[in-house]
Subunit: 165 residues, 2 copies
């Protein structure tokens, strides 16, 4: 009944008993889990010749609307990376023929990114296995525990200013 973070907290208690290291019980685990989950999801993406960044873009386009189309700024907001990262992700996806970039009709600065047929086929092929992988990662939690956990995480996200956007 102990994970790596329990050890870390114990060590802090011995070496720096004057400090209150309790926030690490949440944030240390959060970081560690995110790393483990990422590594597992990456393995699934790799089976389809994808990386996490490409999946992120394709999935965001796929769910956004019936046209599977969005601006780079919209992709940036959704993925929380910088504009430079979005440009490079789109460069790679465009080179593989999975998305297209077209100048916006209304805004001279703007670009419209759209999933190609190949892109749509690929993301629709990966999605079911992706969700199976995610499901299996959560197998250690009951449905009720998952919902409670999701609620706590949402409360925390909202307290940090996360919005629907």
């Amino acid at each position: 009944m102990a994970d790596h973070v329990d050890l870390v907290l114990e060590q802090w208690g011995e070496q720096r008993p004057d400090l209150d290291a309790s926030p690490m019980a949440v944030l240390g685990r959060l970081k560690r889990l995110a790393q483990l989950v990422d590594a597992e999801l990456r393995r699934n993406f790799a089976r389809h010749d994808l990386d996490s960044a490409s999946f992120d873009v394709l999935a965001t386009l796929r769910r956004s609307n019936a046209e599977h189309s969005l601006t780079p700024a919209g992709l940036m907001r959704s993925s929380m990376v910088t504009s430079g990262a979005i440009t490079q992700r789109l460069d790679r996806l465009e080179a593989r023929g999975l998305v297209t970039r077209a100048p916006s009709e209304t805004d001279g600065r703007g670009v419209q990114v759209t999933l190609t047929d190949d892109g749509l086929r690929l993301i629709d092929a990966v999605l079911p296995t992706h969700l199976e992988t995610e499901q299996s990662l959560l197998a250690g939690l009951s449905k009720a525990e998952r919902e409670q956990l999701a609620d706590s995480l949402r409360t925390l996200l909202e307290s940090l200013g996360d919005k629907r956007d």
Copy 2:
């Protein structure tokens, strides 16, 4: 009462109602939170001329034992990065005079990494502000909510094989 992940789930419900996207309620939030928290902690580290990777190494050495000493392999286990990453982190810290590398006395292959006086001073200066930052990130949750959240995250970590190690 809605965060970005609520929007994502809604969009999947519209574009792919056949899929069960519910795992994203937990894992999507986990990823998003980890990114937000990382960015905030980074800002604090930067005030002390540190990055997250360096803080990670210095803090691990600080809490490990009274000698503040560990092998690269031990650091690797704790931080979940590859051996190549540890080598490069140590190169940087050694160049700044914050840690030393000495050949192991018992194992010809081994190396012993130890915090220098400067390294100890630095990490002890950063730790209090780090914990304050973490505390403030969790301000949106009550003590009971934090404990419950930490428990759920530990259950999940253990189900994925995380050990005290």
